[in-house]
């Protein structure tokens, strides 16, 4: 997953650390997406408890656009890293 470290045989401790780091990032992105799309799609007056149709559709599109932004930012950071000659580095798109 977080390949490209250029090391042939990661130890178990390193594997665990990498898996943990990855899980932390996934969790963090989920929380960010949730906060972003709740803010964009759900009015804070709470006049009803159900998610109405418009809100549901808004969430679907919002999530799709959030992933697009995530991919785009990942690409841009990789281009920046390459332009600086940092070479390999990590990609975020395939998170």
């Amino acid at each position: 997953m977080f390949g490209g470290f250029g090391r042939p045989q990661p130890s178990s401790a390193e594997k665990i650390a990498a898996a943990e780091a990855e899980m932390d990032l996934v969790t963090d992105m989920f929380n960010k997406l949730q906060q972003a799309c709740m803010k964009k799609c759900i009015p804070r007056e709470y006049r009803e408890g159900e998610l109405n149709k418009g809100e549901g559709v808004c969430i679907d599109r919002c999530a799709a656009k959030f992933f697009d932004v995530q991919m785009k930012v990942s690409e841009l950071l990789q281009q920046e890293a390459q332009a600086k000659g940092a070479g390999g580095g990590m990609g975020f798109g395939g998170m």
């Binding site: 594997k15 929380n31 999530a63 799709a64 998170m95």
Partner: protein, 89 residues
């Protein structure tokens, strides 16, 4: 997670459990804080008034519904991003 001994596997799972518990607690405190902030604005009384209680209930209900929908989209999104490797690698 291949290539781990049974002990490492257990250690890993125990950590993941702790993380999940932490996540759940974070969700709880976020929910309390968000619904309080959205629903409570009257400080002439020291107990929730009817309007506020109703608002909190709807806020929790809607948050859970929205969260579930977002979870589904998120899982689909993750699967999709796994499938297509990022450009430039």
């Amino acid at each position: 997670m291949d290539g781990l001994t049974a002990a490492e596997q257990r250690e890993f799972e125990s950590r993941m459990q702790k993380k999940q518990m932490k996540e759940f607690m974070g969700m709880f405190s976020h929910l309390v804080s968000h619904c309080f902030d959205s629903c409570v604005d009257d400080f002439t009384t020291k107990s929730l008034i009817q309007r506020e209680t109703g608002c909190v209930s709807r806020c929790v209900k809607k948050f859970m519904a929205g969260s579930e929908r977002i979870s589904q989209r998120f899982q689909e999104g993750q699967t999709q991003m796994m499938a297509q490797p990022p450009p430039g690698r």
